[in-house]
Amino acid sequence: MQEIFVSNLVLSALLFTIGILGVMWKRNAISLFMSVELMLNAANLAFVSFAYQMGLLSGGILVLFIMTVAAAEAGVGLAIFISMFRAKRHIRVDEHDMLHG
């Protein structure tokens, strides 16, 4: 089933690219962060595919750690969004921000 491995690497690249495009195109903070989550998922897919192809059991552990990091990041990130929402009443990423550049 080596086809699965190679196509999975390509799928991982594709999901990662869609994530990058999302970060570039989206204006809403939460959509932006969802695109980042998509990129992390793509990275997880790459890990698992490599583990599958090479027979590395430690791949599963690495994925587990990365999921933990993603969860921690999501917790803090969403708290930051809430705090920004309270301060500004919106979470758009516009050109008319106070900080620009």
Binding site: M1, Q2, E3, I4, F5, V6, S7, N8, L9, V10, L11, A13, L14, L15, T17, I18, I20, L21, G22, M24, W25, N28, I30, S31, F33, M34, S35, E37, L38, N41, L45, V48, A51, Y52, Q53, G55, L57, S58, G59, G60, I61, L64, M67, T68, V69, A70, A71, A72, E73, A74, G75, V76, L78, A79, F81, I82, S83, R86, I91, R92
Partner: protein, 186 residues
């Protein structure tokens, strides 16, 4: 048979991912992301990585996405994307850059990964089965021996995340004083 399932799954995953990208409604795009995660879990199952597949569903689809939806509902976001992306030149060039990134990567991966051998995971798992050791045992043992330091560091990371989330999301009164839980209960 397996390949047919796999490629169907491939197509569905890409479809959901495009849904995340193109949906203007935040909730719909979050649901698409859940779809991607579940498809990836199925993909992991096809690769005989049951443990990771279930963790993927429990942690990602079950916990992280619920958090996302919770925040979307909490903030009651009704905002939609306003300007079409192709009207903004920066976005256009960003898109061009991203697609170039993808094609270079996909090409390189295709060319350099072609002619690989059969995946080794099946043999490894057969070997474990012959020795009557469940895979999860090996995983957990590795985690608390070989990867003990990252494991311990993860606890610090979660502590930081808890502190950070509390600091950022705690409510304040008009003067900026923190509202404590005791006050709210009383």
């Amino acid at each position: 048979m397996e390949l047919i399932i796999y490629y169907t799954l491939f197509a569905i995953t890409v479809g959901f991912a495009l849904g995340v990208l193109l949906n203007k409604n935040t909730v719909k795009s979050a649901m698409s992301l859940v779809g991607v995660m579940i498809c990836l879990a199925a993909n992991f199952l096809l690769m005989r990585q049951e443990f990771v597949a279930f963790i993927q569903i429990i942690v990602y689809a079950g916990a992280i996405m619920v958090l996302f939806l919770f925040v979307i509902m909490l903030l009651n976001l009704r905002e939609r994307e306003t300007t079409p992306w192709y009207l903004r030149s920066t976005r256009f060039w960003g898109g061009a850059l991203g697609l170039t990134f993808f094609f270079v990567m996909a090409w390189g991966l295709q060319v350099f990964s072609a002619g690989t051998t059969e995946p080794a995971m099946a043999a490894v798992q057969a070997d474990l089965a012959a020795r009557n050791t469940p895979e999860i045992t090996v995983l957990s043992t590795k985690m608390i021996t070989h990867y003990i330091v990252p494991f311990l560091l993860t606890s610090v990371l979660l502590l930081v995340a808890v502190i950070g989330a509390i600091v950022m999301a705690r409510r304040q009164d008009e003067d900026g004083n923190e509202i404590l839980v005791e006050d709210e209960v009383a």
